[in-house]
Subunit: 234 residues, 2 copies
């Protein structure tokens, strides 16, 4: 039983919002600035322009994704409260319809009519709990954390910036474009693998597979950007 409880703690942590936000920000932060810089290296021979474009991309991406995460969390919270208000109203005004919906949930798991009636009557005793039950089991949504939106924005944006600085650093310090590209690719592919590995530790039982997959996504995005830029710019 102790491993069983341990498993549930792990599951809870692995699906936690912060891990998800770091993954969202860092996946794109490691990939897109890397791919953009690599792409430009295929078409332009001025590190100054590559660094300018890279920093502009990091600023744009971090703000777009951070604010996107902020608004998504706010929308999710607003959605919860509007659905909650509707359930409260329905429990008040059309209790028989709600009771029938509640019964339907249990019937779908094979419970008999007498059993279902008993449960539904028990749940109906307390209107607040009834609403909570319908929110979770009919609509599948839970009460949002009020600090979530701002935390989500900062975590996503910070992870994006942190991820984006790795592929860009070589272009800042090495004047020759193709040597900078080579070091950037090495650094970033290693970082993508490590990131994918750690992500895999949290979300699946296959960290190695996750490491290779993440490396592959970054490599493919960078290759595509490289060839598109060569086509358009070369």
């Amino acid at each position: 039983m102790s491993t069983h409880l341990h498993h549930h703690t792990e599951t809870h942590f692995s699906s936690s919002h912060t891990v998800r936000d770091v993954v969202i920000g860092m996946s794109d932060g490691l990939t897109v600035p890397f791919a953009l810089a690599a792409g430009l290296s295929g078409a332009i021979d001025h590190n100054h322009i590559i660094v300018t474009a890279g920093f502009a991309e990091i600023a744009a991406g971090a703000i777009a994704m951070g604010l996107g995460g902020y608004l998504a969390a706010k929308t999710e919270a607003a959605h919860f409260y509007s659905e909650h208000a509707r359930e409260v109203q329905e429990v008040e005004e059309i209790p028989e319809v709600e009771a029938e919906e509640c019964a339907e949930i249990f019937r779908s798991y094979g419970l008999a009519k007498t059993e279902t009636d008993l449960i539904v009557n028990a749940i109906r005793r307390d209107k607040k709990r009834w609403v909570d039950f319908m929110m979770k089991f009919e609509l599948g949504i839970t009460a949002p954390d009020p600090k979530r939106a701002i935390q989500s924005a900062v975590t996503i944006a910070g992870s994006y910036i942190l991820g984006g600085l790795i592929p860009l650093a070589p272009y800042v310090f090495i004047p020759e474009t193709h040597r900078a590209l080579l070091l950037s690719a090495c650094l970033t592919l290693v970082a993508l693998f490590i990131f994918g590995y750690v992500k895999g530790k949290f979300t699946t039982n296959k960290p190695l597979q996750s490491g290779w997959q993440t490396l592959l996504v970054g490599g493919m995005a960078a290759s595509a950007a490289f060839f598109i830029a060569k086509l358009v710019g070369g």
Copy 2:
């Protein structure tokens, strides 16, 4: 009751995966290439370089986000199957622990011991249904659609490309950078507002507010990229 059923259909649709994928792809597709191009306009006076960087970014972003969505759906599916296998094993090997967890769910909604025992015994009658019940009500996860990963990848990538072509088009057709920037900004801000408005129609009851918010995010990302690029590149 007909409006009630109507409301549930709407709720289901608004949270559908496709809408979510279009929103994910298009939010970033409209914002990041726009911000990057605007940023470079602040530092570089060659539309050719801006267009090259823009297309490289669209390729990189579409692939990174599309494959990211693909892997996220695959990871979610793998997570479901590994949790499902564990529940099947637990129901087989430690049924009393599972029954206690099942009872705990109902006790938290205020059901008495006799009622809880009755429900738990009814659910236990069919092991397959019992596992389904624990998956949904204990862990809160549902069976994934096998076609979801590839659909998600295509929808996100396509929406990103579609969104990214709008801010970039003026730089392709107008040779003078600052006039292209002006048209790009006008076109993109209008597109962001329309996109935010439509998104708001689906996800909240406040389309206007959603329109202005989406426009603001794009505008802020573009302004930040503009000033960062001027600082680094100018």
